[in-house]
Structure formats: structure tokens, C-alpha cells
Symmetry: C2
Subunit: 129 residues, 2 copies
């Protein structure tokens, strides 16, 4: 049975390494284990020099909000430099990638629909050395 925890304090969720990415961590802030029925909220941190390679999700859209830093995001054929307070919408099926060439951590929220399986298709790989 799910016990609802209405408030999770800053810093109390555990960062996990993001597969296929470089110097990137994810925390699941509110998810199905909390009883979330429709969508799940995660926070990403991409450290300086970090990146997530170009990929897409066939049936998962992203709604994102930039919390900190400056970083580059590619969406479809376009590239954007984003910063704190910017909002981002990436429709399902749209290739996207991230690169933090700045000096401070890039942090953003990423909300996704709750799906049985989190399908991703990677279009390139990063040098993770």
C-alpha cells in the first residue's frame, strides 16, 4: 500500500546516475511510489562538462522548468541556450539532447506521464570516459 508523503524536503531524495549520460543525475521527486496517478516529477542535475545524448521517447512528452545554471538543449532541429525560469515543452517522438558547457550545475525539473515502461531511443552516444 502507498503511504502518501505530502512534503518531501529539499535534499532528502536520492540522486541516481543517468544511464547513457555524462555527469548527470536524476532524483524522482514525486512518482508512482508516492501514489502519483498520472504524471511524475523528477529533477535533473547536469554538472559542468556533462551531457545527455540525442534521444527520443516514442510515447512520452516532457514539460520542464529550468531551476539553475545555463545550458544548451537541442529540440528537433533547433538549439536553445536556456536559463533559470525558462519553460520547455518537448512533444513525444521529438529528438532532444542537453549539454552543460557552463561553470555551474544545470538543474531542471522534468515532468513525464506515468507509463508502464519508460521507452527511450538513443540516436547517438556520449564519450563517457
Amino acid at each position: 500500500m502507498t503511504t502518501v508523503i505530502p512534503v518531501k524536503r529539499a535534499g532528502k531524495t536520492k540522486p541516481q546516475k543517468v544511464e547513457n549520460a555524462v555527469k548527470t543525475e536524476i532524483e524522482w521527486l514525486v512518482d508512482r511510489h508516492d501514489g502519483a496517478p498520472n504524471f511524475e516529477m523528477r529533477r535533473f542535475v547536469i554538472k559542468p562538462g556533462g551531457s545527455i545524448p540525442r534521444h527520443y521517447h516514442p510515447d512520452i512528452e516532457h514539460e520542464q522548468y529550468v531551476l539553475r545554471g545555463n545550458y544548451t538543449i537541442g529540440i528537433g532541429k533547433k538549439t536553445y541556450e536556456v536559463r533559470k525560469g525558462d519553460s520547455i515543452f518537448i512533444p513525444s517522438g521529438t529528438p532532444h539532447w542537453y549539454r552543460n558547457t557552463g561553470n555551474e550545475n544545470a538543474e531542471f525539473l522534468c515532468i513525464v506521464p506515468k507509463k508502464e515502461k519508460y521507452n527511450s531511443v538513443y540516436l547517438e552516444t556520449e564519450n563517457q570516459s
Copy 2:
């Protein structure tokens, strides 16, 4: 037809007054007009002295993230003082309210499922004078 705008810059969305609330504004950051199929992302600003009275949504849950300030939030029978970086989950049907007794703006993101109608039931009113 919906034209997808992948990035909305900070400060480019228009704040609207929140009905039934005091000194509170909402901006819809990513919503159905952007093509969002499943959930919608809004930012609330509650100014010092502002509040949103106790209410619930029969079929809408909230996932929230505190961006700025310190404020009080009531969820069910409990009260929490929240601050930047805290994550909040309010299941559908759960009464909740907000009060900013601090000296700076309280800001938070609130993500909701996309519904035909945004049903709310108010359990009290605020003195909006």
C-alpha cells in the same frame, strides 16, 4: 492548429489573478494550448500577506515544487512550512490551503492533469479587502 513553442522564456508568460485568493497570481507555463496532451504546468506567486483559502479538487491531484520564499501550506489535517527545493504531492479530494506570512514572494510550480473542466470546491473564503 497548435504550434509547438519548445522554449518559453522566463517572464514572457502573463500572470493572471487567482479567483477566490488574496494577492495571488498564476501563469500557465505549458498547457493544452501548447499541445500538452496529459498534464499542465503552472507557476503561482503568492505575495507577502497573500493566501489561497481551503479547497479541494474532486478529480485533480497536484505535484508542486517550491521555487522561492517560505510559506505555510495545509494539506488534509496537517500544516507544513515549506521552502525552496521542497516537493509537494496533494492527492485529488484532499483539502489544501496556502498562506504567505513571510516578507518575500512565495513561488511554486503546480502541475495538474489535463481535464475538460477544472473542478474546485471551496471550504472557506478569504477576506479579499
